[in-house]
Each structure stands twice: as structure tokens, then as C-alpha cells.
Symmetry: C2
Subunit: 301 residues, 2 copies
């Protein structure tokens, strides 16, 4: 027996309408098409699904069994179809995020909090395991959004600017470098540099200053949490380079100073990388707006 959803809908329509002609109207086909159709189903099933010795015809006991199945299965199909309509309309979907920027948790978590209120049907997740090779994962649809400061010219991938920030040098107030107006690459030569535990080429201090100037810090110490980095810096256990929004947040504590990198400072920009077909989804656009709003807030502090 080759049963399809369509057949279940037919059975239900006939039962609910109490006749073939009315059901045909409901299904937007002719009575004749419906007659042929039920004959086809019966031929396949090998049993009579309708009793025709009364007028209008009605379901046989076998037909009633099919009706029972229809009443179980069709709501599941309707829910699935509604869900896909939501997907198409952008009301639902998946938003799995990979973050190349380790410090971005500081602004992203409040953003996602706000986002969830507006888009309860969107499946949100942060995928820490995909921070490495985030852009290939985006292409393979393993994530849906990558937060990155390194735009690339990739077909099928859009980089939407979020906001600009400045990576700044952070040292204890008593540190000798604290008296300078700005920091140069060579200033790092005798220092213990404290960083997040990521590939050094993905840290601004290396990509924008040290690597181009072929300078190596004395030692590098990796620390997971921003607060711990600042604690170690304040107690002169090392120096750090952090996004300005990070140190702006804890500006009340004056145990350390912040200095620009280079005379003119360095400005970096954060981007949201999305697949081209999804950039304009309403929920995606809303997340980007929320991210920019949070950035303005951070810069007011």
C-alpha cells in the first residue's frame, strides 16, 4: 500500500464533510477526481475503505482505521509545515555562533539575552569548539554567524561591520612604561605578555604590531578570564593588550594605566560574518543591531 499524506487528507475530508462532493469542494478538486482517487487508494489497500450501500457514502471499518491514523499524523505534518513557514519568514531558525574574538563574550552575552526576548523561536547557541576554523565552519553551515575582526574576500560570505575598537596596552601604574605617551613594538621585548589562550596570530598585538615589527616578548602567559588578566597586570606580573571596551568597563580601578599602541593608535573593526543568503533574515539583522547598540553602551562607560 502506497499511502501518502494526501490520502490521509482525503479520508479526513470525506469523513468530516459527510460526502464525496462536499469533500471535493473542500479539497479544491472535482468530485470525479476524488472518486478516482479513493478508488485508487482502495485498489492499493486491497480492502474497501468506504461503504457505498448508503448515501452519502461513509467510511468502512478499515477506513475508520485510516481516519484514526490521519488524526494522529496530520497534526504532526501541519506543525512541521508551520515551522517551515516560520523558517522562510525568518521567525524561526538556527543561530549558532562562533567567536574568533575571545573578549567578545563581554558584550555578546547581554546582546543574546536581549535577542532571546525578541526571537523566542530562534535556536541560539555559542559554539566554542568552532572558534578555530570558524569561517570554514560557516561555509559548511556548522555555524550561522562568526564574530571576527579579520574580513576576507570569500564568495558566499558577507562581513557586516559591527563596531570599531582600539586594542590598548595595559600595565600597572608603577610600571616604567606607564610614563610613556604611547607604546611601540620594541617596548614589549623585556616584558611578560599576558594573553587570552588563543593562537597568537589571532591576537591584535601580534597581528598589528609585534609580528610586522619582528618583536618577541620575553614571555607569554595565557589566561582564560579577563578579570584575572587585569588582576595580574595591576599587580605588575605582566602587561597586556586588550580591546578598549574591556578596560573601559572597569575604569574605576586605577591600579593600571592604558596606553595606545603606536603614536596614532590602532583601530580595529569587529565584523559579523554570515552566509550571503542569510544576512538579511530579520532575526539576523536584529542581532546585528543589538550588537551595535551594546557597543555604543560600552563606549559610554
Amino acid at each position: 500500500m502506497h499511502i501518502e499524506f494526501r490520502h490521509l487528507r482525503t479520508i479526513k475530508a470525506i469523513h468530516d464533510s459527510g460526502g464525496l462532493a462536499r469533500a471535493a469542494d473542500q479539497l479544491n478538486i472535482t468530485q470525479s477526481a476524488l472518486s478516482h482517487q479513493i478508488k485508487g487508494i482502495e485498489d492499493q489497500a486491497g480492502v474497501e475503505l468506504f461503504v457505498r450501500r448508503s448515501k452519502p457514502l461513509k467510511l468502512s471499518s478499515s477506513g475508520m482505521r485510516l481516519l484514526a491514523a490521519a488524526e494522529t499524523i496530520l497534526p504532526q505534518v501541519a506543525a512541521l509545515e508551520a515551522e517551515f513557514e516560520g523558517l522562510v519568514a525568518g521567525k524561526s531558525g538556527r543561530l549558532h555562533i562562533a567567536i574568533e574574538c575571545h573578549a567578545c563574550f563581554e558584550w555578546l552575552l547581554p546582546v543574546l539575552e536581549e535577542f532571546r526576548k525578541a526571537w523566542p523561536d530562534v535556536d541560539v547557541d555559542i559554539r566554542p569548539g568552532l572558534a578555530f576554523d570558524a569561517l570554514p565552519a560557516l561555509r559548511k553551515e556548522e555555524v550561522d554567524l562568526v564574530i571576527s575582526s579579520d574580513p576576507e574576500d570569500l564568495p558566499g560570505t558577507d562581513f557586516t561591520p559591527l563596531f570599531d575598537y582600539e586594542p590598548v596596552f595595559v600595565a600597572a601604574s608603577s610600571h616604567p612604561l606607564a610614563q610613556k605617551a604611547f607604546i611601540e613594538a620594541k617596548d614589549f621585548e623585556g616584558e611578560t605578555l599576558i594573553t587570552y589562550p588563543v593562537d597568537r596570530e589571532r591576537l591584535d598585538v601580534f597581528s598589528q604590531l609585534l609580528t610586522p615589527n619582528k618583536v618577541e616578548p620575553k614571555t607569554i602567559r595565557q589566561v582564560e578570564l579577563t578579570a584575572v588578566i587585569l588582576l595580574l597586570v595591576a599587580s605588575n606580573r605582566g602587561v597586556a593588550v586588550l580591546p578598549d571596551w574591556v578596560v573601559r568597563q572597569v575604569r574605576y580601578n586605577s591600579d593600571y594605566v592604558t596606553l595606545p599602541l603606536t603614536e596614532t593608535g590602532i583601530t580595529r573593526r569587529l565584523y559579523a560574518a554570515t552566509r550571503t543568503g542569510e544576512t538579511n533574515l530579520p532575526f539576523m539583522a536584529h542581532l546585528i543591531r543589538l550588537a551595535r547598540k551594546e557597543a555604543v553602551k560600552l563606549q559610554r562607560n
Copy 2:
């Protein structure tokens, strides 16, 4: 989105096979047909269900949602199809019975007990409400079997003989009629006749003796249970006419006598009425055999 079971099977086959060509083999269609098919589903859904930037292709997040639905719904469809195969093969089905013969419960219940052991998948029920107008109900598929002693020449309805029985006169041993060799219609004139609570034209004593002889008993008292009828008869509160299998069962009790109706006795035959298309279903044939076997047993007592 016009989703069918077929589409769910396609999604599942692709996922399980890990590629389009292998899935096509599994589904017994060409790779090309499958490619067209998934393109068709995607066009309808309005979202991409597959990620093609890898080889072999794999399900997108939307596709995974469809797979989840497939894994829920397809087992339900498979069960339904298996059930219909059982129906066609006669392993399952419905057996709703209407009994025109009120005393037939005495042999039918043990028959059905045995039947259930052999045919656990057959839906068995006795429909007391349909005893009146049982044959029209059979035609309309409201019941599937009618036990009747009145065969009719009805197109589409088979009457299969079950067994013969004799309706016998029952009276207290001390009753004056107890001394006769047989009973005639006029013998009922001064008597209280105790019957089952059914239409008098459906009682053998009326249809075979009293009505043709234009005899009316003094009074008629209707009683539901056979055991109560026999009690009242034994205590000389009236007389009765019952099928011989009924009084044969309780023959140890000698407070009453049984006498044939007329000099030569009256023989009646019980029939199983079924719809012509269903008479030869294995479970139906088995029930008829069991009924006959039970009758032999009753006649041995």
C-alpha cells in the same frame, strides 16, 4: 510546502546513505531523479535542506528538522501499512456480531473465548443494540456477522448453516401437561408463557406454532436470563419454549420435563450471516468451525 511521506523517506535515505547516489540505489530510482526531487522539495520549502559545499552533500539544519520529523512519522506509517497487510491477509480485521437468537450467548461466549486465542489481532465485539434489524446493519457494515435462524435471499449476504436445534416445551414435573407425549398449539391457551424479552415474531414458539395456529397464551412474561426462566418453570409459575441446547445443559435438575412441539417435533437451523466478500476470510471460517464444534459439545450433554 507540499510534503509527502515520500519526501520524508528521501530525506532519511540520503542521511542514512551519506550521499545522493547511494540513496538513489536504495530508493530504486536514478541519481538524477533524486537530484530533481530534492530540488523540488527545496523549492517548495523555500529553504535549503542540503549543504552542497562538501562532498558528499549533507543535510542542513532545516534538513535535520525534516529528518527528525521523518523519524517520528515514518514508523507510524510503517505500522499502518503492516496493519493493512494483515487486513488483506485476513490476519486482522473486525468481527462485530449481532445475535438475533437470544439464547445463543450460551454457546457463543465460549466460542469467542477460543477464537480470541487463535486470532488475537481481530477486533471482536457483540453488538446487542443491533440485534433488531441485524441484517440491514450487516449490509451497511455496522456489524460483520449475524447469528440468525431466518435465512433470507439477500444479494451480497451469505447464510452459512451452523447447526440444527429443536425448540422444546419446558414445564414443571407436576404440571398437567407433563404427562403428554408432545405439545400442541392449543395446549398454550391457558398458560403463562415465559419468554426472552424479544419481539414475539422472532421466538420459535410463535413463528413455528402459535401464530400459524392462531393461538394466544393466557399471559406472556418476559425474563432476561435463562436460569431465571428455568427457575420459574420449575416452580410452576409458567411454561417456556427454549432451544434444546439450553435445557440439555442443566439436565441434572429433574424439577421439570421437556417435550417436543408437535408429534414429530420442530427442527430449526442456526445460520451465520456474512457479507459475501468476507465469508471466506480465514478468521471468519475459523469462527464458524468453532461454533459448530461447540454445538456438537452441547449435543453430547
